[in-house]
């Protein structure tokens, strides 16, 4: 391997991102696969008190208490069902373990930064702060989320306002 090629590889490794794709309703989202700890079936949760609707409750994941967020409710999707395809993506971001409920996990793809296009204004539905941009994979549009800022936003109610600073 010559030096030029090595440099080339290094550069593309820098800009290349592996995404886990999942579906929320009709939309397809991608998150950085490095933030994903594991994928589980949706199971009964223990409800918490006085929490926003999108926080389903907590589960016991091998002795750790993990809060579960339903992104479909958070993103105001019209139909929220829990069936055998409903999965929980366990994330490990900002030193916390959090589960998010999604309709289905579809794929793992690799994109480069060049594939990522800035998203147009969405309005209030999805705050632009959580979006890294849009990417096209096999002619499908993928909404790439900045999962860390989504999880740590006080608006989601996962983290105490005080400790969110």
């Amino acid at each position: 391997m010559n030096a030029a090629q090595q440099r080339e590889d290094a550069r593309s490794a820098e800009t290349r991102r592996e995404l886990l794709l999942f579906r929320l309703g009709q939309e397809e989202y991608g998150i950085d696969i490095l933030s994903v700890q594991e994928i589980r079936r949706y199971e009964a949760v223990t409800r918490l008190v006085n929490t926003p609707e999108h926080i389903k409750g907590v589960i016991n994941m091998r002795g750790t208490i993990v809060p579960i967020v339903d992104l479909r409710i958070k993103f105001n999707l019209p139909v929220v069902t829990y069936d055998e395809f409903t999965v929980v993506v366990i994330l490990n971001v900002a030193k916390r373990v959090v589960g998010v409920v999604v309709d289905a996990v579809s794929d793992v793809v690799t994109i480069t930064e060049d594939d990522l296009k800035p998203a147009p204004e969405f309005g209030a539905q999805v705050d632009d702060d959580y979006l890294d941009g849009l990417a096209t994979v096999d002619d499908r549009m993928i909404i790439v989320l900045d999962i860390e800022s989504l999880i740590t936003t006080p608006e989601l109610g996962l983290i105490d306002e005080a400790s969110a600073q």
Binding site: V49, I59, I65
Partner: protein
């Protein structure tokens, strides 16, 4: 070569703090003032001071070592009988212990240090040392073996270190630095043994030194400089008299300045060491930096027998496992009633092993409460002296063991309560005499196991709480007071935020942190504070704490499909209410008539917004719970069982939830929430 000393800094700090505690407790014993009997105690204190001084220099806390040096000199004089330990000297030594502790804490946390106080104590010690040694000396032992410190002398020192000197972490530069403090130091270095660079082993010491020290130092002091390297060098110390001096002057040996001593490897090791130490100190700095609290010591000392016990239990566990494996290896068709019986036995054994192991592992975290108690005599002594009161402190049950985490969080509340008892509780000697009580008040601290709890009692035979004054104060502060309050209701008022009955604000109590903080601290440990008081006879405060932070005795209750855990310490009783016991107060919800007392009824279903299918209170069960503030009747569907649960934090991955203190995992793997009874009783 640079040895990373930072890894030992924590150990140094731990040991130094231990040494300081030891010095303090020995100094507080009155026997120390008795010249005929204090020998062993003085030696203990001296040894502690000596090792703090010695290692402080090594770890880059030179200023601590320097300060301790004065203390050590004083102790040495006492030890050798040249000076009697007076009450004044004892107070000074106690003060010095405080200063050293402050310096170490400041160095560890990177927190600011009151340098004036340090300087004051240092000069006080210096002044004491300057007073004529003999003046205060007990008679006898006049034969002074050592050279009088004030007579200037010249010492010729030949320091021939072995090659292995650096390997033991010693640095000649430090020794020379110490000597330089003793007087004028002239030094010449002999590098004859130094090999060619290619053959040089940088970790070996090839150099030899000849030193000449002029100053008021005794031979013992000179030799002391080399105390740490005694085994690694050949040392000759000789006094130069006038004639020899002339010969020395004539000798062509080139004298070099101290800092020219060639020991590059050593200088190298010095710098990073102090930098690392400072860094370690900063890293250890806690955000909630409270002045004198050693709460971030991340290590724990465990008795060897406890560890041996653990090893034994693990051995038994392995045996049980092997036994079960043998049974499991049987063929399916061979598996009969006999096998089943053996399997059951094996499982029972496994269960026993697991339980014992659990207890033993938790036991590792247990340390005796004397950890807290031992610092109280000092508090009592200082405070009583300051306030002109006489107090006898009685400690009981010091060997009672508690979780390390609990103990550390108990230090402040207990200290505060002891201060309160002396400041507000125990009267001045004259007032006590008038009241027909002995002049000295008694303050008693007692710790004991009671069921699954630890009970700590702080009782005094002082004036007791003044009901009228508390009520008046509460009214003045606008605190809510129940109608016709019982004594217990009144006593609880002093735990309300913003309450302080001290007639004058002293620097002892009344600094804004009051009993409300004490109560909060105790409740954050899942404990409870009870107050009993009889006017004129004294006050008793009782703290009830769970044995460990990690395990809680709880009652599991069902509400709808959810299971909740109610801490057992909070439960007064459970009952099935009769319809005639329930009343509605319009707009205020329902109350339960409990033998004449009306207790607010809380439906957990409503509180937690659970789907409801049955709302008749008489069909369910009420659990009457009590917090420090209030009582409440929790309406639940069913009581399930009483068991120990392991507390898991919700905050690790989520945040605090009102009404919930934590979570636990049930036998079937489900998560159950643990109720925060204090919050619930305030919710209605």
């Amino acid at each position: 070569m640079s040895i990373d000393l930072s890894q030992f800094v924590q150990a140094f700090l731990d040991e130094s703090f231990e040494g300081l505690d030891l010095m303090e407790s020995e100094l507080l014993d009155d026997e120390i003032l008795d010249t005929s009997r204090n020998g062993e105690r003085i030696n203990t204190i001296f040894r502690a001071a000596h090792s703090i001084k010695g290692s402080a220099g090594t770890f880059g806390f030179g200023f601590v070592g320097e300060f301790t040096h004065g203390v050590e000199t004083l102790l040495d004089q006492v030890r050798s009988g040249r000076r009697a330990l007076t009450e004044e000297a004892r107070a000074l030594l106690l003060e010095a212990v405080d200063r050293i502790r402050e310096m170490l804490i400041a160095a560890r946390d990177g927190s600011p240090l009151d340098r004036d106080a340090v300087e004051q104590t240092r000069s006080a010690i210096g002044a004491l040392l300057e007073t004529e040694e003999g003046a205060a000396t007990a008679a006898g032992d006049g034969t002074e073996k050592r050279a009088k410190a004030s007579a200037p002398a010249r010492w010729n020192i030949r320091f021939l270190p072995h090659r292995s000197l650096f390997a033991t972490g010693n640095d000649p530069l430090r020794i020379f630095g110490y000597l330089r403090d003793l007087g004028t130091l002239e030094l010449s270095c002999d590098d004859a043994a130094l090999p060619a660079l290619a053959e040089l082993d940088p970790e070996s010491c090839y150099l030899r030194w000849t030193l000449e020290l002029t100053g008021p130092a005794a031979e013992a002091q000179v030799r002391e400089a080399f105390e740490w390297v005694e085994d690694q060098c050949d040392l000759e110390v000789s006094r130069i008299d006038a004639s020899a001096q002339r010969a020395a002057d004539a000798s062509p040996g080139a004298a070099a300045a101290t800092d020219a001593s060639g020991a590059p490897a050593a200088t190298d090791a010095d710098e990073p060491a102090s930098a690392d130490a400072a860094q370690a100190g900063r890293a250890g700095a806690d955000r909630r930096r409270t002045a004198d609290r050693r709460n971030d010591s991340g290590s724990i000392r465990v008795a060897v027998e406890k560890i041996d016990h653990l090893v034994n239990l693990v051995g038994e566990l392995v045996i049980s496992q092997a036994m079960l494996e043998t049974i499991a290896r049987a063929d399916v068709d061979e598996f009969d009633a006999v096998h089943l019986e053996r399997l059951r036995q094996g499982l029972a054994q496994l269960e026993r092993n697991t339980r014992e192991l659990q207890e033993a592992v938790l036991g590792v975290r247990m340390i005796p409460i004397s950890f807290v108690f031992s610092r109280l005599p000092r508090v009592v002594r200082d405070l009583a002296a300051r306030l002109g009161k006489e107090v006898d402190l009685v400690l009981e049950g010091e060997e009672t063991e508690l979780d390390k985490g609990v103990i550390e969080k108990l230090v402040d509340p207990l200290t505060h309560m002891v201060r309160n008892a002396i400041d507000h509780g125990i009267e001045k000697p004259d007032a006590r005499e008038r009241a027909g009580k002995p002049r000295a008040g008694t303050l008693k601290l007692r710790a004991a196991h009671q069921g699954g709890n630890i009970v700590i009692e702080i009782s005094d035979d002082g004036a007791g709480l003044n009901r009228e004054r508390i009520l008046a104060k509460a009214a003045e502060r606008g605190l809510p007071v129940p109608e016709n309050p019982s004594d217990r209701d009144v006593w609880q008022l002093i735990c309300k935020p913003g309450f302080s009955t001290a007639e004058q604000i002293t620097d002892v109590s009344g600094r804004g942190v009051g009993m409300d903080v004490v109560r909060q601290n105790i409740e954050s440990l899942n404990g409870r504070l009870e107050i009993d008081s009889t006017q004129g006879q004294g006050t008793r405060m009782t703290i009830r704490l769970p044995l460990t932070l990690a395990i809680l005795d709880g009652m599991s209750v069902r509400v709808g499909d959810e299971i909740f855990i109610v801490p057992l310490t909070a439960i007064l009783e459970s009952l099935q209410p009769k319809p005639e016991q329930l009343y509605t107060i319009s707009g205020r919800g329902r109350v339960l008539n409990l033998r004449g007392d009306y207790v607010p009824l809380l439906s957990l279903r409503d509180v937690f917004h659970l789907p409801s299918n049955r709302e008749q209170a008489e069909d369910g069960i009420v659990v009457v719970v009590e917090s420090a503030e209030d009582r409440a009747a929790l309406f639940v569907d069913e009581l399930i069982a009483q068991h120990q649960v392991v507390i898991k934090s919700l905050e690790t991955n989520y945040r605090r939830v009102p009404g919930i203190s934590g979570a636990t995992i049930l036998g079937d793997g489900r998560v159950a929430l643990i109720l925060d009874v204090d919050m619930l009783t305030q919710m209605h």
